[in-house]
Assembly symmetry: C2
Homo-oligomer: 145 residues x 2
């Protein structure tokens, strides 16, 4: 029964896009359960551990906090019985995301209107008080640096 190939921290960093430091930090913080070590004390990630790190990287990219990631990993340890709670946790992440999206949409609207405002002023050749600007200023307006 040959065990699946284990990988070094460098491999896993490359695989997951997390830095080696981040990987070590996740372990120290208890987000990632302690990974196996080789005789010389180097981390050796098993297939299972690689998958777990990949999942954490994905969850992180959903904007989940490390605290939530920690909870999620704890639920993984409880097996199928925790499926409902996993969904609940993911739904919390979904809500956070929805809020962020709403903020972005609001910000976007505000920004577009500000951009539009200045573009109109430029096009109309007016300053902020509605007075016409000089030819010299018009030249400067379109120079962008």
């Amino acid at each position: 029964m040959r065990e699946t190939q284990s990988s070094s921290i460098a491999d896993v960093a490359e695989l997951t896009g997390l830095s080696q430091d981040t990987l070590r930090w996740y372990e120290r913080e208890g987000i990632l359960p302690r990974v196996g070590r080789s005789a010389s004390g180097h981390r050796r990630y098993s297939e299972r551990e690689r998958e777990l790190v990949l999942m954490l990287a994905a969850l992180r990219d959903t904007g989940m906090t490390t605290e939530m990631m920690k909870e999620f990993v704890a639920l993984l340890g409880e097996g199928a019985a925790s499926h409902g709670r996993r969904v609940a946790l993911l739904e919390r992440a979904r809500e956070r995301l929805a809020e962020k999206r709403a903020e972005i949409e609001r910000a976007s609207t505000a920004l577009e209107s500000k951009i539009g405002h200045y573009q109109e002023l430029i096009a109309a050749g007016l300053d902020c008080d509605g007075a016409p600007v000089t030819e010299e200023v018009r030249t400067l307006q379109t120079a962008r640096e």
Copy 2:
């Protein structure tokens, strides 16, 4: 020539939604130019200054960094000639926003598929390895705490 009513920091905090501490901090950091003081040394915001703070609050809400806000205020000081550069700055903010939006959309897709995955497993009564779960586990799965 009666000058427009000036307001206290408390008023401006209330008006803009920024905290008094934030207002003072913006000034210290040079984001907001030094505000006038009363005889006793208290800040007194003029109409112009109130407007400026309102604009900064709006820009902040677009996710602009304080560094960019600083630049923007500097451009305001240059009058109409800086309109083009103002637009350029706002467009940088727009790009940042677009990136954030893209990230959120990616994250959202990933999250939905994870949620769907677990919901399917629950509905099908299977564990992560495709084996059927016991009745007891099914009960636990739907209990969400």
